[in-house]
């Protein structure tokens, strides 16, 4: 955080696209592009990026994760400011990349340098650019789900909420247990599907009780999980990435479901 807040606002942003967004839900990345261009930033998107290695890391496969980290660092280390629409991917880069290399190892420094320049979208908008109102409009009641790594890993809680509160026409309400895990957990949801499904269904119940017609989050993983459960249960609550809400009405209906 320190490096950016101390210096002047960046003029150029390098996009870090989560693999889930890239392959399943490109509209989220497009929405982020619109937001950042709207703010007058020039954008760069390394075309050879693939995946940050989080799934391997969370499964205990550190060697594979380290390989992914080296590749990521090589691709991104020239960037002035790296922005990503996912709390967990940023958490991986910022909190876990440096620890993948031994203290004195040259890669450690490189990992730390990249880590210090990587931001999640909402923290970048609010903390670095000091922007809370993007001029977006929305119609209806919205609730927000805190993604675990964004909230507890990066400490980002108020930034997305204040962005949502500034959306004209959006009736923002808190749901109960907004900060409890939705049960996605990457490969956890595949290895322990019954537990994962029970968790997401509890989350869906809280979304329903809030009366919101749209649930917003900052992580495609959580959203795919919640939307997948709601779709199977025939619930017509929309699951949107925050970038889609902030980018304006033509992004607010696009959802992989």
């Amino acid at each position: 955080m320190e490096c950016m807040t101390r210096t002047a606002s960046p003029s150029k942003v390098t996009l870090f696209i989560p693999c889930l967004v890239d392959a399943l839900w490109p509209e989220v990345a497009e929405a982020m592009v619109r937001i950042l261009r709207h703010l007058g930033l020039s954008l760069d998107c390394p075309a050879d990026q693939t995946c940050c290695g989080q799934a391997a890391f969370n499964g205990g496969y550190r060697r594979e994760a380290r390989r992914a980290a080296r590749r990521f660092i090589e691709i991104f280390e020239g960037a002035q400011c790296i922005v990503c629409p996912s709390g967990s991917c940023v958490h991986m880069v910022r909190r876990h990349y440096p620890g993948l290399f031994r203290e004195a190892h040259p890669w450690r420094r490189r990992a730390e340098a990249v880590a210090s320049r990587t931001y999640e979208l909402t923290e970048f908008l609010v903390d670095v650019l000091n922007v809370k109102d993007l001029g977006a409009r929305f119609s209806g009641r919205i609730t927000y789900h805190d993604s675990c790594h964004l909230l507890r890993g990066l400490g980002v809680k108020e930034q997305p909420r204040s962005l949502l509160r500034h959306v004209t026409g959006a009736d923002f309400v808190e749901m109960e247990n907004a900060d409890s895990c939705c049960g996605f957990g990457g490969t956890f949801s595949l290895k322990y599907p019954d537990i994962s499904a029970a968790m997401v269904n509890a989350k869906v119940d809280h979304i329903l009780s809030s009366g919101a017609r749209t649930v917003v989050a900052c992580d495609a993983g959580c959203l795919i999980n919640m939307a997948g459960a709601m779709s199977r249960r025939g619930i017509s609550v929309n699951a949107l990435h925050i970038a889609q809400v902030l980018a304006g009405v033509d992004f607010q209906r696009t959802c992989p479901f």
Binding site: H38, G60, R67, G185, I195, A202
Partner: protein, 483 residues
Amino acid sequence: MTQLHPETYREAARKAIGDPVLQKALAGLQARFGRGAAEAYRRLPEGPHLRHTAHEIRERAVAHLDVLLERLAEKIRQNGGHVFFASDATDAVEYCIKVARRHGVRRVVKGKSMVTEEIDLNEKLAAAGIDAVETDLGEYIIQLAGEKPSHIIAPAIHKTRYDIAELFVKNMGIPYTTDPPALTRAARKALREEFLAADMGISGVNMACAETGHITTVSNEGNIRMATTLPRIHMAFMGMERIVGRLDEYEILLRLLCRGAAAQTMATYVSYTAGPRRPEDSDGPEAFHLVVIDNGRSRILADPRFREILYCIRCAACLNVCPVYGKIGGHAYGFAYSGPIGAVVTPLLTGINRARHLCQGETLCGACMEACPVAIDLPRMLLALRETLAYGDAFWKTTPANPLEGLAFKVWSRLTANRRTWECFLKAAALGQRLFPKKGNRLRRLPPPFHGWTRKRDFPSLAPETFLARWRKNEIEVAKDIP
């Protein structure tokens, strides 16, 4: 009956999820204690940062465990108590039985103690012809039911008052009632008789202090005080890590323990015991024994990756916030310790390969770490355990738990090492997904290893083209204005 069955995690979890009574109880427990503990930390005069001070205290204590334990033993012996260092469960149980036989003990009353669950003390005492009665109301209920605790401090959380009413009618011959005060009175009456008839009282140890040479037990029912003062002999069992050096450090931990466990400023009964009754004392046991149990803890201590788990003071705050525990309850973990603490400590105490589901079946959401009164980084250790399962580990003698998964990540590593290869793979997958039933953009059924997901959820189909492919072709030309 052996109580160790962490292998059945998945099946037991499924059963718990299908039990609406348990689901309601777990949700109620977490709403009350989980949120309550966070609030209690906020109200600390020193602020929630005290948790980190406590972390440092525990770190220091565990680093100097040998010195502290020696000092504690010395003090207790000076006061006329006995101290026994048990290397494993058998050692501890045998010592207990030996002492019991020497004193002609037939009946034992017990205060709540998870370490005695760990060493399976009740069953072993029963096999030796010694009856041990649990006196914590929750423990008493599950003992009558022939079950195991499902929570470290709320052991009968899975029982309703209707279950309890039936148990009491059957075991105590009281008239049927579901009135909680009436049930509590019935238990109290039955337990009073046990307290008075017992020859030996067994308790755990919440925390020991080396400087003063005392052990502390904490309860809200007063049963531990009765169990440790009425019978002729008091035997306390402690995990060898449950000690701090100085009284001022001990005081910080005690305050955090009560907040983490039950959102209390202080527990109702806090007892300090430093030895048997002295000539000037009006009550207390004639003999006091402290059993300090290793049972695998030295091995944990020897590994810097996992040493931090020894900082735990077993308050159960992590259970009260864990979203996985909140769905599957304590029995699924198959051992004395459940929830996030169980997910880390059970594999280390009982075998990582054997208890692998415990550390793999968690989401790494980090709620446990925030709730922990001594700020233990449980997610870090879950990851470290998973690493021992991914590649095998010489120190812990683990073998790769899932070679297929290992292979999949090797392949994934190759695929993602090159953007073109990765995109070819995604294209192939996009073609492949046409084979599966779809509804609109939703996949209704997927092949292994993804089939579990689509049992209860839909999955989005892959986009026709990746974002990056379109970016490369300069197709991302969205307007700058936000409508």
